[in-house]
């Protein structure tokens, strides 16, 4: 009895223990930085997460969601404008004791990517269990319970399942190749049963998508999705952080981390198939040994690193969880800002809607018909028309005959008479004077639009910009008080550099002064601080009057040439109709390209007959002599070299040809040599084409040389001499190729490496000689008598080594008599070489022995 009790006690204790272990509070890492520049110029002055989305800072939505899914600890990673984020959080409801979770801010100033951020988090070692990784600009109302559950269960079964990604249906447009959120189309391959992510590609450009065959190595069934959207909500295991730590080059969450894992996963299969478990064991040993010696750097330098790392990080898996009815989206660019704002107004993100008391900031707006939200204290003229899906913030006054539709207007704005606003996002304390027309624009805090201003679609007016009377801001312009950073500064660093908190207040003080008309010129690249210090000296930026008007303040940011083309993609404005028509025409014309592809398919010999066909064995579908084509191409390239293209370019071109045709260096050398010979043959000869009998007594050639076309020889010799560097390049670069080959397969047997290098070189040289033979026999019979002379010439010019020639000779030994013509012809030359190699005395000895043998045979 007592025993039983004891047992029961023990089991219950054990159960408690396991519960304690399992009971890790749900943690979340919130990245309060998007690590991109898409919201510039606004983000120069305020961090993206604090930008108002339907009058509430974005981070509120994210925090509200984290709260709703039961997260208990949130680590907010701040980087740019970190002080602003921290200050904001300090003031917010979330930091108050009544909040259901604790917020810890983690700050870093040198992080330039999500990867860096996660490395910082890792170093703090605060993450103990699975955590939610989310960016502070994500809006969602999904219930995480199921996804979490799935993640945990998978983890139990397979500790390598480190991440669950949330995805959602979203079909990119055929024409623009982007989703309604303005993000690029995404290609994912997902195992339909396990939901494992097999493939992730967000830059799908070519018209033919190529997917590694390894994808189907273990599955017979995969779904390829082009209609899913990445919600950028991930449930991660702590390993994710350490993976970022191990792979210090991972920056981007998707581009590097996700793809990295998936690709390594593939390699894993590859290495599986290539090597036996025994070899893998050895590999592992080698790794351990090298790391012990601290020789990692050596490993990286040598090609060994690749397989080693393949071994180290393989096998991690990423899974997906698709949400169907809930909402989740990330504000990536201005277009998604607009789309998501409208979704919120239309209550797709319920309960995250404007009239719900969810956020720390109490918002007392009420919902009218047609999705019109307005605060109770809005002063609105009777003649003003507020159209569908619009929100008017508190304290805003709206003048007579003003029409507002599909827009969000912030708090404390003053809108004059006869103003027309459509599809705009107007933030707080904006003054819009009479007669302005605003179309699909973002107008930030404190902007002043004088009477008659027209904002064309896609305009962004950053904080406190002022626009003078009757000015029209052209479409897609971005206007800011901050000068545009010069091009070389335009990478991430700058945003973080002037993010230093000391500078933040400067714009505010800056504009309390009446600066409008009296600025003398100041260089644009001057820093803000110096502007502040200089402002009393009446030297401040000169805002060009024709851009923002006489009384205007602000710079129009110019866009780079390439960017402008793509501006419409990410703009807040709808895609202009003309563009769509243009795109649809492009779409319709595309088939012709696809059709060309079709022809390529057939010509490139991809379609090969195989044994599967029925009695009508499908005939030879392709393979129209690849090598002949290759030779021709090389020849053409070579001829281009004659017309003045320099040698390096030729080498480059031939190399690319070689890679595309999957040829070896030897083939290149052969083909090049062929073209040189042709050149020599084609070279003009003098009219009196008489034969010269020459004696080449340098190697004591015998009477075979009678009747040799001396001029031909000279021509060829000239060409060879001219192009010998090119040829040599191919014969010498052999080593490199050989080494790669050896490293990839035999890296644990270094001595073979040496050996193979030699062998490869000789093989390649032989290839040239064989090619030469072929030429003499088939294409240019007049060359035949010159064979031995040219061979010796090649030797003389250090293009062919004696090794190569000798091994060619010995290779030919067993050949038919007809094949031996050239060996015989150059017999004397070969003998000389042989002599050189082993020393004359030895050679004599050998020769006599051979003779003896011959005699003996007779």
């Amino acid at each position: 009895m007592a025993q039983k009790k004891g047992q029961r006690g023990a089991t219950s204790v054990a159960a408690d223990d396991s519960e304690v272990v399992a009971r890790i509070p749900l943690q979340a890492v919130l990245l309060a930085d998007s690590f991109n520049l898409k919201f510039r110029p606004i983000t120069l002055e305020r961090p993206k997460v604090l930008l108002p989305l339907v009058n509430v800072p974005m981070i509120e939505y994210t925090l509200a969601w984290l709260d709703s899914v039961g997260v208990e600890e949130v680590f907010v990673f701040c980087c740019s404008h970190s002080q602003q984020v921290k200050d904001y959080l300090k003031e917010s409801e979330w930091m108050k004791p009544s909040s259901r979770f604790s917020i810890t801010t983690v700050e870093s100033h040198d992080a330039i990517s999500a990867g860096d951020a996660l490395r910082v988090i890792y170093e703090k070692s605060v993450i103990r269990g699975d955590f939610v990784l989310i960016s502070g600009d994500t809006i969602s109302n999904m219930n995480l319970t199921q996804a979490l559950q799935e993640h945990k269960e998978r983890r139990k079964k397979d500790p390598l399942a480190v991440m669950t990604m949330i995805i959602k249906h979203s079909k990119p447009s055929n024409l623009t190749h982007q989703t309604r959120l303005g993000t690029d189309e995404l290609l994912m391959a997902i195992d339909p049963q396990t939901k494992e992510l097999m493939f992730y590609e967000d830059k799908v450009n070519p018209s033919i998508i190529s997917i590694d065959k390894e994808l189907l190595a273990n599955n017979t069934w995969v779904y390829l999705h082009n209609n899913k959207q990445d919600c950028y909500i991930d449930i991660c295991s702590p390993e994710v952080l350490s993976l970022f730590m191990d792979n210090f080059d991972y920056q981007h969450l998707r581009r590097h981390f996700v793809k990295g894992l998936l690709v390594d996963d593939m390699k894993d299969h590859l290495i599986d198939s290539l090597t036996s478990s025994d070899v893998r064991y050895k590999l592992h040993k080698i790794c351990a040994f090298y790391i012990e010696l601290g020789l990692l750097a050596v490993l990286i330098q040598s090609h060994l690193a690749l397989p080693v790392f393949m071994y180290m990080i393989m096998g991690y898996k990423i899974f997906t969880h698709e949400i169907h009815s809930s909402y989740a989206a990330r504000i990536d660019n201005f277009r998604s800002y607009g789309t998501i704002s409208k979704d919120i107004l239309q209550r797709w993100a319920y309960p995250l809607v404007p009239n719900f008391q969810y956020f720390g900031i109490s918002s007392k707006v009420k919902l009218d018909r047609q999705g019109v939200y307005s605060a109770p204290d809005v002063v609105q003229s009777r003649s003003a028309r507020i159209g569908a899906t619009t929100l008017i913030g508190s304290g805003t006054t709206i003048g007579n005959h003003t029409g507002i539709s599909n827009s969000v207007v912030g708090r404390g704005c003053t809108i004059g008479n006869n103003v027309c606003i459509d599809g705009c996002y107007i933030w707080d304390n904006v003054i819009i004077e009479d007669g302005c027309r605003l179309n699909h624009a973002i107008v930030c805090d404190g902007v002043h639009l004088s009477a008659g201003v027209v904002l064309e679609p896609g305009v962004i007016l950053s904080f406190k910009v002022e626009v003078g009377r009757l000015i029209t801001i052209p479409a897609y312009s971005k206007v800011s008080l901050r000068p545009q950073p010069s091009v070389q500064d335009s990478d991430e660093e700058l945003e973080y550099a002037d993010a230093s908190s000391a500078v933040i207040e400067s714009p505010c003080t800056f504009y309390t002064h009446d600066l409008f008309n009296c600025f003398s010129a100041i260089v644009a690249c001057i820093s803000i601080t110096s502007m502040v210090s200089n402002r009393n000296a009446e030297s401040s930026p000169d805002y060009s009057a024709h851009e923002v008007g006489i009384s205007g303040v602000g710079y129009i940011w110019s866009t780079n040439e390439g960017e402008h083309e793509e501006e419409w993609r990410h703009s807040i404005a709808p895609i202009p109709e003309a563009k769509l028509i243009e795109l649809s025409h492009a779409y319709l014309e595309e088939p012709d390209v696809a059709y060309l592809d079709v022809n390529d398919f057939l010509v490139s010999g991809e379609v090969k007959p195989d044994s599967e066909s029925i009695g009508f064995d499908d005939g030879d579908g392709g393979d129209y002599g690849d090598s002949a084509d290759f030779d021709k191409e090389v020849e053409a390239t070579f001829h281009r070299a004659l017309t003045g293209v320099n040698q390096e370019t030729v080498i480059l071109e031939i190399n690319s040809l070689r890679l595309s045709c999957n040829k070896s260096h030897a083939d290149c050398a052969g083909a090049l040599f062929f073209s040189m010979m042709e050149l020599g043959l084609e070279a003009p000869r003098s009219s009196n084409n008489w034969l010269l009998v020459i004696k080449l007594d340098m190697f004591g050639s015998d009477n075979d040389n009678h009747g040799v076309d001396c001029e031909l020889y000279q021509n060829i010799a000239k060409e060879i001499n001219k192009w010998k560097d090119l040829l040599k390049h191919y014969l010498k670069s052999v080593d490199e190729e050989a080494s790669i080959y050896v490293v990839s397969f035999r890296f644990y047997e270094p001595y073979i490496y040496q050996l193979e290098m030699c062998i490869c070189y000789i093989q390649f040289a032989i290839e040239v000689i064989l090619k030469f033979e072929e030429i003499c026999l088939e294409t240019a019979t007049e060359l035949a008598p010159l064979f031995s002379i040219i061979l010796s010439y090649l030797y003389e010019k250090d293009i062919l080594s004696e090794d190569a020639i000798l091994s060619w000779a010995s290779e030919k030994e067993g050949a038919d008599e007809s094949d031996k013509i050239f060996v015989k012809q150059s017999e004397s030359f070969i003998t000389i070489l042989h002599m050189k190699l082993i020393g004359p005395q030895n050679w004599l000895k050998e020769a006599s022995e051979e003779e003896d043998e011959d005699n003996g045979d007779e």
Binding site: K171, S207, N226, E577, K608, P609, E612, D618, G619
Partner: protein
């Protein structure tokens, strides 16, 4: 029964080289026996079952055509209306079709490979084809797991069987449209998909466990068109079908206005399917989406797409093609085994078929899933397991035959042991021959006492 307006072309092949030594001048592929019936009879009876009785059987080679024609006129004289056409050898499937295409008149053409052994009703494929108004409809079935079935104790389980990959097939989410197909050597390469097609459907299902069964329904005009215009096309499977799949969104065939003009409304409704899948705003939550001038292109675009459809056979259906020696053994085994309903014979209580005229010696056992045709004689103490034995064979005493096919007029002397082998007609196995996994060509004589393993024996 309403007329289906389908013409049927049976591609019966000729002397297929990959089936040597089983096929010969005297025995073209179409007449290879499967459970003692020519393999072609399975297709013909299948078609008869779907009330498709007007057939053109295309045979490679004059001699083979005469043999096949002779057999058909004997066996199906009053049941089917068959024309046998001979084409030169090596013209390929497309070439064979090209030479008869001018005789085709019906709206749609059903093309069946003569080596197909299946119980999937061709009528179902034809109906699917009609329903979608497709340009081509293909029958897909699960890849058979090939390889010899475990002969009891030999412990074949150690080799983890992986289904042989025949095709890589891309389907739309509803599994009605064929969006991608890789055949032959391409199967082992990286998958190359056309982005446009993926974009149009949004989601593609890539399957490696399906096999193209070589039963196609084509729209006749399109088929003739392609055969005329693309004179380099040699194979249906490798040229015509991939071509149609690739160009389904940028159709050349239909743009030329050569597609038979069906009743307009019907056609456009059908063709809209792919189109509307591709609409931008379809599932967008926001109603005030950027309205796109889609109407602008839809007019022109409609005419530029055609549909490639699939009919996926239920997994319980049997479907196999006799295109290799392995397949020959497998099909013979299956037809008297798990797919015995195909054979058309009625099985005895012991689950085997022993013709009444066959004679068995004393203590001779014939196991289940065996077939013993008329006039064959077995001596004493023989054992036959999972094998087919043809007509008028003389089998001595103490002979063991396991997992094998023995054709007609074979003489097997005492003490032979045959396992996993195919013995063609008129072969003589002398005493104590041991064969394992061998093929013995017609008329060959295996000398007494010899042992062979995994060999192909044939007269030179």
């Amino acid at each position: 029964m309403t007329r289906m307006d389908f013409e049927v072309v049976v591609l019966a092949g000729g002397a297929s080289s990959n089936l040597s030594p089983l096929v010969s001048q005297e025995l073209p592929k179409a007449l290879l026996p499967v459970a003692n019936r020519p393999v072609l009879s399975y297709v013909l009876e299948l078609l008869e079952g779907s009330n498709l009785k007007d057939l053109i059987v295309v045979v490679e080679g004059e001699d083979a055509a005469q043999l096949v024609g002779g057999w058909i006129s004997g066996a199906y004289a009053d049941r089917l209306h068959v024309e046998v056409a001979a084409v030169p050898e090596g013209v390929g499937t497309a070439g064979a079709l090209r030479s008869i295409s001018s005789y085709l008149t019906a709206n749609d053409v059903l093309i069946v490979s003569g080596d197909l052994v299946t119980d999937v009703p061709p009528g179902a494929i034809a109906a699917t084809h009609r329903r979608h108004g497709a340009v081509v409809t293909t029958l897909l079935c699960s890849s058979p797991v090939s390889g010899p079935s475990d002969s009891g104790t030999s412990g074949g389980k150690e080799k983890a069987k992986k289904p042989v990959r025949h095709n890589i097939i891309g389907l739309d989410p509803t599994r009605q449209y064929l969006l991608h197909m890789a055949t032959g050597a391409e199967v082992e390469k990286d998958i190359r998909l056309q982005k446009r097609i993926l974009q149009a459907v949004g989601q593609m299902e890539i399957r490696a466990d399906l096999m193209d069964a070589h039963l196609y329904a084509f729209k006749r005009t399109v088929l003739q068109d392609i055969l005329d215009q693309k004179d380099k096309f040699q194979s249906i499977r490798q040229d015509i079908l991939p071509y149609l799949i690739r160009t389904q969104l940028s159709s050349e065939v239909s743009r030329n206005g050569l597609v038979s003009s069906e009743s307009g409304s019907n056609k456009s409704a059908v063709q809209d399917d792919l189109r509307w899948l591709s609409q931008h705003r379809e599932i967008a939550p926001s109603t005030f989406q950027d309205s796109q001038p889609l109407s602008l292109k839809s007019q022109r675009d409609d005419q530029r797409s055609h549909k490639c459809c699939v009919y996926i056979a239920n997994e319980s259906k049997y479907c196999a093609r006799l295109n290799s020696i392995q397949a020959f053994s497998d099909i013979n085994r299956d037809v008297i085994g798990e797919a015995s309903h195909l054979s058309g014979y009625s099985f005895s209580a012991q689950n085997n078929i022993i013709h009444p005229s066959a004679e068995l010696g004393s203590k001779t056992t014939v196991g289940p899933q065996c077939m013993l045709a008329e006039g064959s004689k077995l001596g004493d103490k023989c054992s036959v397991k999972r094998s087919v034995i043809g007509r008028h064979c003389r089998i001595g005493s103490n002979v063991k035959i396991v997992n094998s096919v023995v054709m007609n007029h074979v003489t097997i002397d005492d003490g032979c042991s045959i396992q996993g082998s195919v013995i063609c007609s008129n072969v003589q196995l002398q005493e104590r021959v041991v064969l394992k996994d061998c093929q013995v060509g017609a008329g060959y004589i295996v000398t007494s006492g010899s042992e062979h393993k995994s060999e192909s024996l044939a007269r030179k």
